[in-house]
Amino acid sequence: MEDRTIPSTTSEAQRYASADVRSDGSNATQADATSQALPITEDTSLVSLEAISGHPGVPMVQAEEVHKRFGNTEVLRGVSMTVQRGEKIVIIGPSGSGKTTFLRCINHLEKIQSGRIYVDGQLVGYREEKGKIIEDSERNIARMRAQIGMVFQRFNLFPHLTALENVIEAPTRVLRVPKAQAIARARELLHKVGLAEKANNYPNALSGGQQQRVAIARALAMNPKLMLFDEATSALDPELVGEVLKVMRQLAEEGMTMIVVTHEMGFAREVADRVIFMDQGCILEEGRPNDIFNNPSHERTQSFLSLIL
């Protein structure tokens, strides 16, 4: 376990480290212990082990010289990155740096103009046919996306379904899991994220932090090998950020491979194995959190961090 440096601001420390913040922002008391997420035991976890084992030895994500344009603007200029199984990567950078776009390219929500992205050894979004690279069929892309979970900045919960129905929707429709089994797993996941009693609520009756936790449970219901977090806490009130970061930390401790785009530097310091700094479509710097936050070598990193921290 690496040395944990003291978080730079006390409010950050309180937010992500405390188990005391309830979903409505008030402080928890002893009596609330049963309604919080249970400590991790062997039999119940957010992460299913067979999903994350995959092909040992092959990196979970391998991006090679990825280029992407939106019209005439080049957003990604030769991004290359390797993510090993179980690694937690945090990508930081100013807005417009392409970090969200790169994340979306990993599960082919955005198409790339050149370069390759491999997830668990599989080429993403394209296939080789007679020596040519052509776009893959929608069915194959959907199948690949089912193994990658994504959590969005704006939650994107389905408003016409309850929390429970949101979580069972994908497993029943895509994986064809029998409904009873899906409901049982969904209740388990909602309990793990601390929302067991909100299972029958519609999203408009939930707070932002609760919605985001349901969104995380929904992504986990598909037993993904890899989780992508696109600024998952940026749209939340400061008081609600802590509960979501707690779930993300729990996921990290259970061994999920995570790529997180965030502005929460405290979380990055605490959880990340590697921090990557992007600016204007390029990776400028990457390294261990201590190295990046304490001794940034690139001057752009320095100026960015001086504004944030």
Partner: protein, 289 residues
């Protein structure tokens, strides 16, 4: 004299003239024979016409909505048929032709009058050795026309759904078709209901055009009786009463539908009684002594 007295003095001659005119019209002294109107109001043929109108309107609206749904999807650039290779590339090549077809169809059927469309279908099909009875011809013409208008309505409904919904569905591994059917269209439906209600209202009235192709719906039947009885005014009045009945009832159904699909599915609010809702009169609390 006060202000209102002045007004009354000025307009009184007109008021009495109008009143005399109305009395003349609406009693047996005038050109309107109320007894005929009353006699035909519940005439079995008229009632059959009403029933036919309703059936035709419902069928044509349903089919038109279906056609409109497909046209809206054809125009969506994300419309992709899920298939395994090599069929996926074949279907991808269809995207542009489908979109052009949809544009052409909508332009054609919105650009020509419904009456003209019905007459053309009625007169042209026999040349292709297709003979259809008037009901089917009317159904065909009304559906095709309605499809063009519903396409735009449904497209607006679909685009009102946040794009994040489709992205979330896709990121969970759903195909475009699954995401549309389970996530996007149910939410689009909520937005589509008010204009759809409007369209059905128009549809019920547009069925009257089928009378020119010899369909005995409500207006056609009324016309027949009007001709045989030499009582146009009375019979058209009867037809209007029935059209009003249909559209008024539909108005209430539409209101109920909008409420049933309303966005907030919270606890049902306690509502004031119907007579209070209609008149807005609320009982005042007793004045404290």
């Amino acid at each position: 004299m006060d202000f209102f007295q002045h007004i009354w003095n000025f307009f009184a001659p007109f008021f009495t003239q109008i009143w005399d005119f109305l009395v003349y019209i609406f009693t047996l002294h005038g050109n309107f024979d109320w007894r005929i109107a009353g006699k035909y109001l519940f005439n079995p043929y008229i009632l059959q016409g009403v029933w036919l109108t309703l059936r035709l309107a419902i069928l044509a609206q349903a089919t038109g909505t279906l056609i409109g749904l497909f046209l809206a999807l054809f125009k969506d650039p994300r419309f992709v048929i899920t298939a395994a290779p090599p069929f996926d590339r074949i279907f991808k090549g269809l995207l542009l032709p489908l979109r052009l077809f949809a544009d052409f169809y909508i332009w054609l059927f919105r650009g020509t009058p419904l009456l003209v469309q019905l007459i053309i279908i009625f007169n042209v099909l026999p040349f292709f050795y297709i003979t259809l009875d008037p009901f089917t011809t009317a159904f065909l013409g009304l559906s095709l026309n309605e499809g063009a208008y519903m396409a735009e309505i449904i497209r607006a409904g679909i685009s009102s759904v946040d794009s994040g919904q489709m992205e979330a569905a896709k990121s969970l591994g759903m195909t475009y078709g699954q995401a549309m059917r389970r996530i996007v269209l149910p939410q689009a439906f909520r937005v589509i209901i008010p204009p759809l209600g409007n369209e059905f209202n128009s549809m019920m009235k547009n069925t009257s055009l089928a009378s020119v192709i010899a369909l005995l719906e409500l207006f056609g039947t009324a016309e027949q009786f009007a001709a045989s009885q030499f009582a146009e005014l009375e019979l058209y009045f009867v037809a209007c009463v029935w059209y009003l009945a249909l559209t008024t009832i539909w108005g209430q159904v539409q209101k109920w539908l909008e409420r049933a699909f309303s966005a907030s599915k919270q606890v049902k609010m306690m509502q004031p009684p119907w007579w209070q809702r209609m008149t807005g009169i609320r009982s005042r609390p007793a004045v404290a002594a």
